[in-house]
């Protein structure tokens, strides 16, 4: 009888939590969409680095920053060739970025392509780390889509080490989806929800294993204590 009552209480608690989550899903999902934006207002720097992808918006922000005299030079990491690039259907992303920058008034001699054939954000961070090893006091504004700034900032601060204080992340407003209603739109789900999956992957793959192990150990202790109490 006592066990049944305990089970019912647990089920009730779980149901209440689920109902609350469902009722509050709109503000929660909105917060989840906005949380990914970890960008800062730009400050004068020596370089702007455009992360590859979303060439419809990111290089435009970099060009605007150059024109506003917030940075004189632009960095773009060379990317790994995708199938479309191999088939010569489309130029590589860094090439598209370079073309957009030039079209928007950035002189060709102010654009530097960082070597490294980057396939991921992590690779782009490594390309910048190599560059900063030779430019030890350079300040860099890293431009990427707003929803991508959280993961980029995490990856860059991890990969840049001592240089991480030299970079500042600037958000390029995305037009892929409306971050305040992203869950209503398939493109929004593909963008925001997949960003959370990537964030989890990055934390597990490139992050320190210690916090995860500590969390698992704590969870195991809590479960053990609860079981012991139940047995008593």
């Amino acid at each position: 009888m006592k066990r049944l009552r305990r089970l019912l209480i647990r089920l009730l608690l779980i149901t209440v939590v689920l109902v609350l989550l469902w009722v509050a899903r709109v503000p929660l999902l909105r917060v989840a969409g906005r949380w990914l934006d970890a960008g800062s207002p730009p400050r004068p720097a020596d370089y702007v680095m455009v992360l590859n992808g979303e060439e419809n918006s990111r290089p435009l922000v970099a060009a605007a920053l150059v024109r506003a005299q917030l940075a004189p030079q632009v960095l773009v990491a060379e990317v790994l060739a995708s199938p479309d690039v191999i088939d010569r259907v489309r130029p590589p992303s860094h090439e598209i970025n370079r073309m957009v920058l030039e079209k928007r008034g950035v002189p060709a001699n102010r654009i530097t392509i960082l070597p490294g054939r980057a396939g991921t954000t992590h690779d782009e961070a490594l390309a910048l780390a190599a560059f900063l090893d030779n430019h030890r006091h350079a300040k860099v504004l890293v431009v990427t889509s707003d929803y991508h700034t959280r993961r980029s900032r995490w990856a860059f601060s991890r990969d840049l080490g001592d240089h991480s204080g030299q970079v500042l992340f600037v958000s390029a407003p995305t037009e892929e989806c409306d971050v305040t209603r992203w869950w209503l739109d398939e493109r929004g789900v593909a963008t925001i929800a997949s960003e959370y999956l990537k964030l989890a992957f990055y934390t597990a793959r490139y992050g320190c294993a210690l916090p995860w192990l500590a969390a698992c150990a704590c969870l195991a202790v809590v479960i053990r204590c609860a079981r012991n109490r139940d047995a008593r």
Partner: protein, 249 residues
């Protein structure tokens, strides 16, 4: 003294049972992982092979055409029957095309098909949002309404083909649904038999599942954000940055 049902002995045997069950499950998962992982992609794929169509459809998305090696597939299908024509749904990366950075998609299609030895006449273009399957399906449904005898075989990426089919079913009446069929194209780097072996495979299957589950959160009919012109985008960005600076002063 009699041991109660919740005593240490019974706890131990219960724990042993759980451990055995977990070991069996793990062993089964390891043994059948290939079949399990392959089965995970089954709900994502819709294949409707058909020889009975007069338009080969392609979806033009911002990041490029939908489906790997779609030009190879289109060239093959067009060469099989010279009466077949080409239909493009979606506008592609509009701003990059307007800036002259990338050519319009029709130009890319002609170039790629010519490279594969196929010359085509007029290309029918269905303007619509190629980045959203729901919007593309609505645009295609309107085009099918205006072309009562046309039958289309739509090329799309393998793991998004079921979603494309679902979007078409929602947009086209049941009696007309057979006029638009799906041809899934697998990626050269992975397919249903090996997607878990490479990172692009994980990414594609993950996103395909997210899109498939999107119906649980919303109806998929939210209006896409307004696309600004290049100048407007840059001006709005600089204005927002200036506003933040003034507020933080």
């Amino acid at each position: 003294m009699q041991a109660s049902s919740g005593g240490p002995k019974s706890m131990k045997s219960k724990r042993n049972l759980w451990a055995i069950a977990a070991a069996i499950l793990l062993a089964a998962a390891a043994l059948f992982h290939h079949a399990l992982l392959r089965g995970l992609t089954r709900p994502l794929v819709a294949c409707q092979p058909s020889g009975d169509f007069d338009y080969v459809g392609m979806i033009s998305r911002t990041e490029g055409p939908d489906g790997d090696r779609c030009f190879d597939a289109a060239a093959r299908l067009l060469a099989e029957d010279p009466r077949r024509r080409l239909l493009v749904v979606g506008a592609g990366p509009v701003r990059l095309i307007e800036m002259g950075v990338l050519p319009p998609f029709e130009e890319v299609v002609r170039r790629e098909l010519a490279r594969r030895g196929v010359t085509i006449g007029a290309i029918s273009v269905v303007s619509g949002d190629g980045d959203r399957y729901a919007a593309a399906a609505v645009a295609l449904a309107a085009w099918l309404d205006a072309h009562r005898d046309a039958r289309v075989l739509l090329l799309c990426s393998q793991f998004r083909s079921a979603h494309t089919r679902r979007a078409l079913n929602a947009a086209i009446s049941a009696s007309q649904a057979g006029r638009a069929r799906i041809c899934p194209l697998s990626d050269r780097r992975f397919d249903e038999n090996n997607w878990w072996k490479c990172r692009p495979g994980w990414r594609e299957v993950g996103i395909a599942w997210l899109i498939r589950m999107q119906g649980l959160l919303g109806d998929g009919q939210a209006a896409p954000p307004l696309r600004k012109t290049t100048n407007q985008y840059e001006e709005d960005f600089l204005r927002s940055v200036t506003n933040v600076k003034e507020r933080t002063k």
